[in-house]
Amino acid sequence: MRKPIYMPFPQAVPQVVAIDPDTCIEFKSGKCKKTCVEACADRGAIDFQQEPQLEEVSVGSIVLATGFKVFDAKRTPYYGYGVYPNVYTALEIERLVNASGPTGGEMVMRDGRKPKSVGIVHCVGSRDENTNRFCSRVCCMYSLKLAHLIKEKSDAEVYEFYIDIRAPGKSMEEFYNRVAEEGTHFIRGKVADVYPAPDNNGQLVMQAEDTLLGRMRKIPVDMVVLAVGLEPKADAEDVRRMFNITCSNEGWFVERHPKLAPVNTFTDGIFLAGACQGPKDIPDTVAQAGAAAAEAMALIDAGFIELEPNTAYIVEENCSGCKTCVPLCPFTAISFLDEKKVAEINEVLCKGCGTCVAACPSGSIHQNLFEDEEIYGEIEGVLAYA
């Protein structure tokens, strides 16, 4: 049981304790002796009045690092997650092998026995027509790591069922070879079914076609680990709309250019870092986040912003003062000069969409780089060889 005052987890940043209002007697009844306040003495770090607050902050640029959602293993019911107690997701195993986890790093099953055999299923919710078609990129490596740790902590036989092993990063292929040399069994094939062993000994049978041997394999194991993939956040669409950026079909945020502007978006001042832009591991995320921070800093540091040249302007002599254009501009760049009876465009506010240009009945609004004559010229040009 967790105490009312606790450290969220050993590596928490910032490294400070918190009070759990659901178990703290002071919060629940207000009748606590408050020995914690006593112990803290004149440092006065304990404040029962603190409440969550919403703060509004004005900023010049924003880095989106909203991350990903873990694939819900229940969406692949044939693996039996939530049905058979000895089917785990990789994240649950991650907690089991963690020294600060619930078992103190002991590799045990729910009944306290150490597993004698463990099967790891790759690509759960990745590279699959029924769920997600993309590769989640991190599962191969974390599965190899788990195989290594499970062997280290339990001496179990480990079976990895994979489609392809993707170990493309620095030192990753070497690690794959090391795990293979340690005796982990690699079976190339997608697991089709997980079911209880017929002799009722608590084991689960993993059935898969070994595509290298060309025959079916049924392997009884004590424990099944599902290497769940990464998915876009459920609210990615809302975030996308809020920042006026683009999502790919799957729901990952789209960068401005894959090579030339990999952390920028189509909206100036909005940058991307991490798995919200696509599945990636920690080193890649850190590298991308560094780039995003540098881009954001560069924008702030310059002290000025560069405007696109394609702004609109009004030829005053031709303007009839009809005010058609004024309400069209979502950026309120167009104002009407009462004394001159003409409209005027503030080129700093103008984003250069050209909507007012197309609407002007007298043709007095022009757009730099997209003049009417240029577009008529283009039409003529593209039809010249019709």
Binding site: T246, F266, T355, A358
Partner: protein
Amino acid sequence: MPETKSDDLVQLTSRGWSPTIVAFFCNWCTYLAADLAGTSRMKYAPNVRVIRVMCSGRIDPQFVLDAFAKGADGVLIGGCHPGDCHYQEGNYKTLKRVQLLKPLLKAMGIEEDRFRLEWISASEADRLKVVVDDMVQKIQALGPLSVEVPAEAFAEEVAVS
């Protein structure tokens, strides 16, 4: 929308008459979709001539008339999905203009299938392909554009002063 085989269309359009379509794509959505279709090496009918504008809101109905006058067999406008406009609401203005322009084109004897407005986002390269292929197929069936007004007079009528 029925999926057509682009290979067949490429074959079809390589012999005999095939339509020429002038397409106005907005810089942020449909133009990027076309770019994505290109970098993904997607195959679609080669009949579309793309003119890039920053926003579909920049498209003056006169551009459409001018394209028809100068010999286009079809005009396609591509913009961002409603609510997704890079300039917040330019595509809504486009929609209004298109709704006004459609009956005018009809009155001029230009068939409905020759003029189309589509919302295609930056990631929808496959949708762009389907739209273009479908449009080419329909106009191929219609044949070359012929309007009552002789082409020369037509051009004069819609010309910018």
